[in-house]
Symmetry: C2
């Protein structure tokens, strides 16, 4: 069968992906399918998300962060549902003449995160494309039966909480596209690097999954902007929300950019790539949730309250005026 | 939130994909994840396969067959593992300015097959791409615990069986790329249409899944050509095989092309897209397997026998000479 076992595709899989697939459910990537025995008493939580070169990452982003980002955007959904990651399937579409160094770094980054987040590679498909690199991941997690946190449980009076900070990634993307903004925004290099890293390497809040499951009445991850995503959560729950814009958690870097360019707040709240959790917590559970978040080392902020109604959530400034957003959400189409 | 609920992306999902996601596990596509309670006593069988425009299908293929093909190449793997399909996740990458009529037909084809094969849409992601259309599907099936058919169980003396017919799809692709071949191969229009349809619409053998699980010692689906794929099965089982080329099942259309161009057999056996099952069956189970296949309405053919050794399977002509293949398998790289 030729001068080496199998085809060039087989060798690519053996070289770069077999080392990531030591989990017995992956069968060493030598069979058609992976196979798993679901744990008794648990539900499986399923998600798929893809990232595309030139759309979700830039062609010259470091390949190790591309592999990590592809996995992290999926991990983030599991975290918001209160699920513990179990494993994933990978589709990697590569242009002709891909670079071995690129592949090596991509697989290394992916493998590091698979290990760090406890989600091994279980199977996959490598295909050629005349288009840009595309990474499509399907991830599986578990929750005790019947306990997945949905978008539907928010109740009037619940507090609206978000993890981490909002709007960094969109600023990081803008800086990568227009490097001169660093000067015009008056950023120090540390701040510039923080924002760029937040774009390339989301920090999925899987450490908060268990606390979210225990204490949140509804939750989702913020991938298309806080305004639109919170709007979806409220719509699914049949409620509205009043959000205090001055309570939103902004990083020091983002605050620095906002100081000179306050209008950036619109993009920061309505574009995507935050990969933070927004959730609603009944007042009776707030202390326990805060304490669990502190133990998990995940910063959380209280940003508002669920109210009656079916209008879009209001984002209120200090004078009680509701901000108007031209477009509430990132959309591909 | 604008003149219609949600973004253009939300409307696309609501219009084309919500009708395919009536299964309660899909949560109406309104949450971050799907959720399912795995049936007790069963294992989950997991697979992902993607198809790319210009690589796995032609840009002017009918959109309804593109949706069907994307699902069927995944269903085919489940069939070969003896698994019953349970549901799937979809990633659809679309170029800018996609056509509504295209989308409507794509989703209709996908929905028809999801219904026909009992595998509902459970979740997905639609993204924009500067490249061609790409459809990435992850599928889940079930088998009673511990009974998934692997590639590893073939034993010396087992019979090698294949379903359907081999080599049609590669001829269909050649006809689509070079229409004048129809005349040069001396095909009647019926034969031309048969071959093209076999390329665009594989016939996954899910009706034979249960029989494969009950009777086969090893199995896989043929996606990259019989020669290379059987070689993989034999390597995984630590055996070899002697195959009688004259026992291979060729369709009347393929036989007609082969009569004038015998060298086509090389491509028919070493290129891909058959999506038939090749499996090994102990002689003691052959009658039961044949009977189950007949009941399922799936044609099967006995093409050879597992033998000792670790050499690649031999494909023997009537004079006992072993055919030589320049390249044994389709490879993307």
């Amino acid at each position: 069968m030729g001068d080496a076992p199998g085809s060039a595709e087989d060798r690519l899989i053996a070289r770069y992906f077999k080392p990531l697939a030591k989990d017995p459910r992956a069968l060493g990537l030598t069979d058609d399918c992976a196979v798993m025995t679901p744990p008794a008493g648990y539900d499986l939580v399923l998600k798929t998300d893809a990232i595309v070169g030139g759309v979700h990452f830039l062609p010259d982003d470091p390949p190790e962060t591309i592999g990590k980002k592809a996995l992290r955007v999926n991990l983030s959904d599991l975290a918001a549902k209160g699920a513990v990651a179990s494993g994933f399937l990978l589709v990697l579409a590569l242009p002709a003449g891909f670079d071995e160094a690129w592949m090596e770094a991509f697989a290394r980054g992916l493998g590091e995160d698979a290990e760090a987040f406890g989600a091994p590679l279980l199977g996959g498909d490598t295909v050629r494309t005349p288009g840009p690199v595309m990474v499509s991941i399907s991830i599986f997690g578990t929750v005790p039966h019947g306990t997945m946190v949905t978008r539907m449980g928010a109740k009037i009076g619940d507090l609206v909480m978000v993890t981490g900070s909002i709007g960094d990634a969109v600023l990081g993307l803008k800086l990568l596209r227009e490097p001169q903004l660093e000067t015009s925004w008056g950023l120090v290099p540390n701040h510039r690097n923080h924002l760029v890293t937040r774009y390339r390497l989301p920090q999925p809040r899987n450490a908060l999954a268990e606390a979210t499951r225990a204490h949140a009445s509804a939750a989702m991850d913020i991938s298309d902007g806080l305004v639109g995503d919170l709007g979806k959560l409220c719509a699914a729950s049949g409620v509205s929300a009043d959000i205090s814009v001055w309570d939103l958690p902004f990083s020091a870097a983002a605050q620095s950019a906002l100081k000179s360019h306050p209008l950036l707040s619109e993009e920061m709240l309505t574009e995507g790539d935050d990969y933070e959790i927004v959730c609603t917590v009944p007042p009776s559970k707030l202390d326990a949730f805060r304490s669990a978040a502190s133990t998990a080392g995940v910063p959380i902020a209280e940003i508002g309250r669920i109210v009656a109604g079916n209008a879009a959530p209001r984002f209120l400034d200090r004078d009680g005026r509701s901000l108007f957003f031209i477009r509430t959400s990132f959309s591909h189409f």
